[in-house]
Amino acid sequence: MGRPGRRCWAAAVVLGAVVAFAHQAAAVDLRFQPSLLGQVRRSPWSAQTQVPMELYGDLGLSDLPLGSTFDTFFRLEEDWSDLSSETDFFTGVLRIPKAAPGLDLQLGRQIVAESPVGLWDADSGQIRLAVPNTPLALSVFGGAPRTWEPTYGPATYSENEQIFGGSIRLAKFRGGSASMGFLQQIRAGRELMQQVTLSGTRSFASLPGMPNLYGNFAFDADHQNVDLARAGFQSAIGSPRLLANFESGYYKPQDMGNTVVTNLDRREDPVFQMFSVSDLLQFRGGARYTISPTVSSYADLSYQRYAQVRGSMVNGYVWSSGLLWLPGGDGLEMVRGEYYGIDGIGGSVNGGRVTYENRVYQDIVFRANLDMAWYEKSTNQDGLGIASLIGVGYMFLPGVIGEVDFIANSNQFLPQDFRGALQVTWVTDYAIDRTGVQKTATGNQGRPWPWAPTQFGPASWGESPATWSANPGMPAGSGWATASFAAADASRTAAKAAAEGKKAGATASDTAAGAIARPASGTEVR
């Protein structure tokens, strides 16, 4: 079956599943967020014009029987001037979180992230079993990793890979857990590593600064080698406006230092092992300070030390610092200015970028980006690299945004690189049941740049000063049910006392479940 045929077949399966489940479940939630991206540009390698078109997006189903979800993500690419350049990828995973009490099943092409040293998109299955009323949970996974990255050339190492492993969650805290696991990776029929892993994280919401600690450890039993050790913490320090993060790490993907692994299929981390023949030490720190409710500043620095060749240690520094301004405090408008730099054996870079994004106005999206960097390489090359974008979008139908972008760049390979681009994004959400199809949500968010709060947290948001609570979604002591819980607790205590005193009249109906029907005042509800 050809590629178009497979796509049609996959679409038919999805639609069939929707119809089938919609007849069984009360209402199935269907989420669909496709984006059509197009660009006209000149190839950096030739004078040829390229016209890549991409269909990005995801299609998801939820509220299926047993709490199941079906989640997909796809990128279908076609270059209309060069039909041999396709780099499609797609994932799709069925998750049944309540296949049986405590049993969570996942099957399909999905993210496997149970190793502290790697993450895969793999054709795999995952089984999680949580032991009721205990923190214990057992997880088993296995599958074949997949890669869809455009390589612009023949693959140089095998994609014949398999991973197998499992983990046991030993403890679970509020805002954290600790687990140990095992991971085996095989490439081209040969064992690459056998790791014993230990991972943990914990938040201390009741302590000043709400610190969060985390750590990972991985020992390669096959090579008798510590692959990874990492520990870090983040916390507000002194003032809730000042947030800091420190981390130190040790990385040694293989037992190196004596020999260079020349066979790519035998390298655990081929890119790292291309630059280093040794272990790597890393220290990293960062801080965020909220200057005002709508202005935040930040700074990050990382230091790396490793041997590029045997006996020759080199250092590397990467840093950035900037300001984030959210005019109006509603997050619909973002201005970000940043200075960044790199210094190492390969040379140095000093650059700055300004990003602006506006979603304030009805039906209109506007964004602009300018990034300029001066570089001096150890190869005696230097110059100014420029990247810029101006985009204007309009919502011409509910949930459908069309955007036109103009991209102008200048770099080492193309001194004048101009590109025209378009984006059409449709964001929609439907509830499907026996009575029909109902639209449940629309939006005009389009395709946002990395949204500010994902990097800066809620400290930068809102018109009021930053405050901290153990659970921002559920402020402590709020809500009438808090009092109901107290009433239920009192009722339970009374019942226990009654039972212990063997008093007459202590009946089974005087339970906590009965007590919640009473409002906070304690009067009976009619």
Binding site: F73, S139, A408
Partner: protein, 222 residues
């Protein structure tokens, strides 16, 4: 001044112009993501997804009364239908605490009775009800969360799935968007070799060695 630089500067001027129009143009009614009461904004989403029919079916044997969730201690005269209507739409909505008494895991410091009241069968994931997740950021999603999330995710991936679907991870980890450059801007090609040697541990997070050799092999061939 080079032409790309002039165009880029023109973009900044346009951006400043757009910012200045905030007071005279109609504002966005679809995306009010961050009003003052952030929790209520997310609760509003959840409220719209609530189904009495679903809950009546799931709680059938326990036969919950209206007063299990709603409070009716406000007295409204029959002559005030407007007030009754307003209260039924607002004041009688039970709020998030009533929902979380069944949906959600154990709460630190919660009373024994409160823990007993939780129902093991009730879905505990945030996305069961909430579609706007922004106000529900956990306390550890701070500072350098993008950098440290891998460590936390590997400790307990199931915890991530309480709020995030698989496509949320894939959207960044496999993103090769030609327009909106999520990680590297288009000038990065000029100095990526400097970055790779300063911090070689990070390239492999997203790229395989093939990605390097594909271009470098072509350069050698030329």
């Amino acid at each position: 001044m080079s032409r790309p630089l002039r165009i880029a500067l023109a973009g900044i001027v346009l951006a400043l112009g757009a910012a200045a129009c905030r007071d005279i143009m109609p504002t966005n009614s679809f995306l009010r993501m961050r009003p003052q009461a952030t929790a209520s904004q997310s609760t509003k989403d959840a409220r719209q997804r609530y189904s009495h029919a679903k809950h009546a079916k799931a709680l059938g044997d326990q036969a919950p009364a209206c007063g299990t969730c709603h409070r009716f201690d406000a007295e409204i005269g029959a002559s005030e239908p407007g007030l009754a209507g307003a209260l039924s739409m607002a004041a009688q909505i039970p709020g998030s605490a009533a929902c979380h008494s069944c949906h959600g895991g154990p709460v630190a410091g919660g009373t024994a009775a409160a823990q007993d009241l939780r129902m093991a069968a009730a879905p505990a994931t945030c996305i069961t009800c909430h579609s706007n997740m922004l106000p529900l950021l956990p306390e550890n999603h701070q500072v350098a969360w993008l950098r440290v999330h891998a460590s936390v995710a590997s400790a307990d991936p199931a915890e991530c799935q309480n709020c995030h679907r698989d496509s949320f991870c894939v959207n960044c980890h496999q993103n090769r968007d030609d327009q909106l450059t999520f990680v590297h801007d288009y000038n990065y090609i000029s100095f990526h070799s400097v970055d790779a040697r300063a911090n070689p541990i990070q390239c492999g997070n997203c790229h395989r060695e093939d990605f390097c050799s594909g271009c470098h092999a072509k350069a050698i061939q030329r």
